[in-house]
């Protein structure tokens, strides 16, 4: 299946989709190669992500959580693309992709822990081949290319590297350098752009004058594809195609692919943001009508895979799982400042050791309460 050429060269065309707005298979499209169980699990992951989002935003409002970047609207893209991964593949998410570690079986309490300001939460991603999150937009893309270079160097054809970033990130120099390297070294990379139409307050057409993000792949000599990010099955298919191609490239095709997933963020940029200052309710409502969860639920109902009863069961499980996660994260010990000094280097240099000792003396002298009040 070659989706790429069709979507990129006719850049103003609709992105690739499988489900129509009512969750029905579009004529001519085949259904997914996922089992019923997997499809229902996908639905559960999507709804859990939505629930996780709502609870985390409300925890933040209550001062029980740090700044958080909501997922809502991106569930189809994040979970569709994550289901397309093989076990050994690596994925590099950004701050807005909490659903990715969740779908890769990272404990929800660990994801929460990160947002509560503990590096340990970030560390827990690694065991599931999820790269730790950082917040410098665009700068993770060269890491993905480098990982691809390493796997290629080792003749390891079992691994692809999927890197996520936003529409805003495509303006950064690192986006360009990383994709150019990927083209030159023909690496097993999937560059997954979550084009949600906004970079905080800056709209897509202020971000770049190119008609689509996908067409930027032309500059790097590999294929770009546009996909409907509100359609998890389309995202799954396009990502799966790109991952397979990354591992076993078609003859006339380079291994990397740029995927432009066209979607929308329903909520604020982060809990520190107020989108009403810069965007219209109309636009939001138009996109809410494409809600990936609603659409996917319709599909599953239409095809007899889901009914009210099962949906209720999912809902209950989600709520319990989230309640447990919150309890776990709120039960955490106060963090130990020693953590700050560990892991700067493998071995603690003597200067740092002395600094740590001085901090311990300070704590002894004043007590943590006085120290932390500031």
């Amino acid at each position: 299946m070659r989706l790429s050429t069709e979507s990129v060269t006719s850049s103003k065309d609709e992105p690739f989709r499988i489900l129509d707005a009512n969750g029905r298979l579009i004529e001519g499209r085949t259904g997914p190669d996922l089992s019923d169980e997997q499809l229902v699990q996908m639905y559960e992951d999507m709804t859990f992500s939505r629930h996780f989002d709502e609870r985390t935003v409300s925890l933040q409002r209550q001062g029980r959580m740090g700044t958080y970047a909501p997922v809502a609207g991106h569930e189809g893209a994040q979970i569709g693309s994550t289901y397309a991964l093989d076990r050994d593949d690596w994925v590099l998410p950004t701050y807005r992709e909490s659903a990715i570690p969740l779908a890769r079986d990272v404990e929800p309490s660990e994801v929460l822990r990160y947002w509560k300001g503990y590096e340990e939460g970030n560390a827990s991603l690694v065991a599931e081949n999820v790269f730790p999150i950082n917040i410098v937009i665009g700068s993770l893309i060269p890491h993905a290319t480098g990982m691809g270079m390493a796997f290629k160097y080792r003749d390891d054809y079992s691994r692809a590297v999927v890197c996520h970033f936003g529409d805003g990130a495509t303006s950064e120099g690192d986006f360009h350098e990383a994709l150019n390297f990927a083209g030159v070294f023909d690496t097993p990379n999937v560059f997954f752009c979550n084009n949600n139409q906004w970079a905080i307050s800056v709209p897509r057409d202020r971000q770049t004058a190119s008609d689509t993000i996908a067409q930027k792949a032309i500059a790097y000599g590999f294929d770009g594809v546009r996909v409907d990010g509100m359609d998890p099955l389309a995202v799954y298919r396009v990502t799966r195609d790109a991952i397979e191609n990354a591992k076993r490239p078609e003859d006339d095709r380079k291994r990397p692919t740029l995927v432009e997933s066209v979607q929308y963020r329903f909520g604020a940029h982060t809990t520190a943001d107020d989108p009403s200052v810069y965007r219209d309710d109309d636009e939001l409502e138009r996109w809410q009508r494409k809600d990936p969860i609603v659409r996917f639920e319709k599909f599953l109902r239409n095809t007899g895979r889901l009914d009210d009863e099962r949906i209720d069961a999912v809902k209950t499980r989600n709520e319990e799982r989230m309640a447990d996660a919150i309890e776990a994260v709120e039960r955490l010990d106060d963090p130990d400042p020693e953590e700050m000094f560990q892991n700067v280097y493998e071995e603690l240099p003597s200067r740092l050791e002395e600094q740590f000792e001085r901090l311990q003396e300070l704590r002894d002298r004043h007590g943590d309460d006085e120290l932390l009040e500031g």
């Binding site: 303006s171 800056v202 810069y278 700067v344 120290l371 932390l372």
Partner: protein, 337 residues
């Protein structure tokens, strides 16, 4: 060393502003005064900046003068350099100091060098504003305080205000300055307190430190957000140690005279900064003082600073930041030597 009072314009017309409001007020005044002044950066337009430092400017001056740019910091500073090379006065905002590193090449290879490279025929009257420093419980990369990087680059000026009054006055001077200025804004105290700020324009000159508190036992040098905990520590020590607090305000060029004058008076010193100890400006200040006033020196100059670790996620940040207790202890150590 300047007496703020000297630059005071009409003292009857003032507004009670926070530091971030004083930024906005300073931008507004210079934009009104000079068409060549434009503001550019991410989210500075309709959104008014993520800290509201450019709020309302887009409505008033239009999109052409309050330019929402694509998300590309090197492009922002690089194009601002190009604008300034033909006589405009761009004020580029970098959303957080932690995101300024991709602009390093543009700053050090170009902004700092164009005047030299062209023997003065091309200049860079550019301001790069950026909120810096820790303490607001944000995600990673939002707490950096790496002023030392910029100070080590000849051709750049580096300014850090600590009060609303100074903010407007220093920003005005920075915008009018014929050379590139890095304007580091202490976001921890963006809204911490208010001060009467003249409605008229005024300049607080670059390159002049301010004595925030007179004292005879020890001179403590600091700037920006650390000025407040330092003053608090000085208060706490009242009766025990008579602490002089010098707010440097401009880090490059350094006001060596003010620093040395204060030190000669007290013979003891400390430097307080958020940045890591090693390679931080504490070293520069200490070296400068002992070059100029070793014979007055009665004790080692204490460096009360952040640790030589990456700035941690927020669960630990209160341990990282110098606060009154740590400053108090450092001052006592310098006294008890």
């Amino acid at each position: 060393m300047s007496q703020n009072q000297n630059q005071h314009p009409d003292p009857t017309e003032t507004q009670n502003l926070t530091l971030v409001q004083a930024v906005r007020d300073g931008l507004h005044a210079e934009m009104e005064r000079d068409d060549d002044v434009v503001v550019m950066g991410e989210d500075v337009g309709a959104n008014g900046g993520v800290f509201r430092a450019t709020e309302g400017l887009s409505e008033e001056f239009g999109e052409e003068r309050v330019i929402d740019t694509p998300l590309a910091e090197s492009g922002i500073v690089g194009s601002a350099i190009g604008m300034s090379s033909v006589g405009m006065k761009p004020i580029a905002e970098i959303q957080f100091q932690g995101f300024i590193y991709t602009t390093f090449d543009q700053l050090v290879s170009h902004a700092a060098r164009l005047r030299t490279r062209s023997r003065g025929s091309i200049t860079c009257p550019l301001v790069v504003r950026t909120p810096y420093g820790g303490g607001i419980r944000p995600p990673e990369h939002h707490s950096e305080s790496k002023e030392a990087f910029f100070v080590h680059e000849p051709g750049l000026k580096v300014v850090v205000p600590s009060t609303p009054y100074d903010t407007k006055g220093l920003l005005t001077s920075a915008i009018r300055d014929p050379d590139p200025v890095i304007f580091l804004e202490p976001k921890l105290i963006y809204r911490a307190f208010r001060e009467e700020v003249p409605t008229d324009s005024y300049e607080v000159p670059l390159g002049e430190a301010a004595v925030r508190r007179e004292g005879s036992d020890i001179s403590v040098f600091t700037w920006g957000a650390m000025t407040r905990p330092t003053l608090e520590a000085a208060e706490d020590l009242e009766g025990e140690i008579d602490v002089e607090v010098v707010d440097l305000r401009t880090l490059s060029p350094l006001d060596t005279d003010a620093i040395v004058e204060s030190f000669k008076k007290t013979g003891r010193g400390a430097v307080v900064h958020e940045a890591p100890l090693t390679g931080g400006l504490g070293g520069e200040l200490t070296a400068t003082i002992q070059e100029e006033a070793l014979l007055y020196q009665e004790a080692p100059i204490e460096r009360i600073t952040g640790f030589d670790t990456p700035f941690p996620l927020y669960a630990l940040e209160d341990y990282y930041m110098p606060e009154p207790a740590r400053i108090t202890d450092g001052i006592r150590e310098a006294m008890n030597f």
